[in-house]
Amino acid sequence: MAKLKDLSKKQELLSGGHRACAGCAHPIAIRQILMAANMPVVIGCATGCLEVTTTIFPYTAWKVPFIHSAFENSAATVSGVETAYRALKKRGKLDKDIKFIALGGDGGTYDIGFQSLSGAMERGHNMIYICLDNGAYMNTGIQRSSATPKGAHTTTSPAGKVIPGKREFRKDMTSCMIAHNIPYIAQAVPSMWNDLVTKVQKAIAVDGPAFINILVPCRLGWGYPPEDTIEIGREAITSCYWPLYEVENGKYKITHAIKEKTSIADWMKKQVRFKHLFNPGNESILEEIQARIDQDWERLNELCKM
């Protein structure tokens, strides 16, 4: 169990001066990932908010080696870096132990980078892929991705007169990765820093591929005041929209027990993207969403008993 006092003594590896929105969860997640790292890391990142805001030439917020090449290939790019590392180490040109972390948003992970991620995980590279899921293409101005929750308004799934926002349920990306039978998979939220730090440390300790899906609330795309980022993440956990769990060598475990499950509608009410669902006539959508969450939560609990 990490202590903040100890973590605060480590060198800060993400500088200020990046251009993320005030209250953005991305840099919070990154700081927690980097404070968890107990060995040198090299970061790869897909195109997206995080990449754009932290590396505006000649300014980089990263104090660790960082590579971005394109949008759909964070995993493939890092698989090349990791392979080069093994090759050079084998040939005696390098002796350090380094861990490789590939980052991507939900667009870069669930959608356009799905294949690249699947390939890299199957090949068994010694790397952690971390998805920073804010539930839409925020960098291009809030467009729907397959991670966008049902009912959400985005600029390409707008709440119109006929269609009430996104019609489909989101893709269960974490389960897709569990199906890859890799040693370690987890879900995390920066609001529970200790849980997140522990999971990153577990993923680092794995000799092989690991995947962590981190929910990063987006105050702009979700529509809430910037100071609420941590709280809204917390409620994503208590409502079971984003249960904190891990799958270690096939064994499911809920890492944060839910004492009192909060209603999904309460969580949604705080976000402008769901505002239209509270108009009369949309009650059934809310019910459907709640039912799905209950069902998924039940299933997860079942899986944990196995």
Binding site: L4, S15, A20, A22, Q32, T55, T60, P226, T229, I230
Partner: protein, 98 residues
């Protein structure tokens, strides 16, 4: 930072040093400023852990202030300060700057 011409820049768009964003000031984005009451602060470091802009200064396990060159004034620190502590409050920049 001096704006170099093509002959002077490192090739391939590389940035050869880490953390140069430190030289970029985002403090001007702020409309609200965090102000800490060190008497009330219990140094739990929760605010430090949740700051998106690496702008809470910690020395020897203690909060020593804010990096106002980079703090964007999001207010997460004030909001996440434990309810029983409430050591940070957000003050309008206009009040401070006059």
């Amino acid at each position: 930072m001096k704006t170099l011409g093509w002959k002077g820049l490192p090739i391939g768009g590389l940035i050869l040093e880490g953390g140069t964003a430190q030289q970029y000031i985002t403090g001007g984005w702020r409309t609200m400023r965090p102000v800490i009451d060190t008497e009330k602060c219990i140094n739990c470091l929760t605010c430090w852990c949740y700051c998106p802009d690496s702008s809470i200064r910690v020395e020897n396990e203690k909060i020593t202030g804010f990096d106002l060159d980079h703090c964007k004034g999001c207010g997460i620190c004030a909001k996440e300060c434990p309810p029983k502590v409430q050591a940070i409050r957000m003050v309008a920049e206009s009040e401070i700057r006059g």
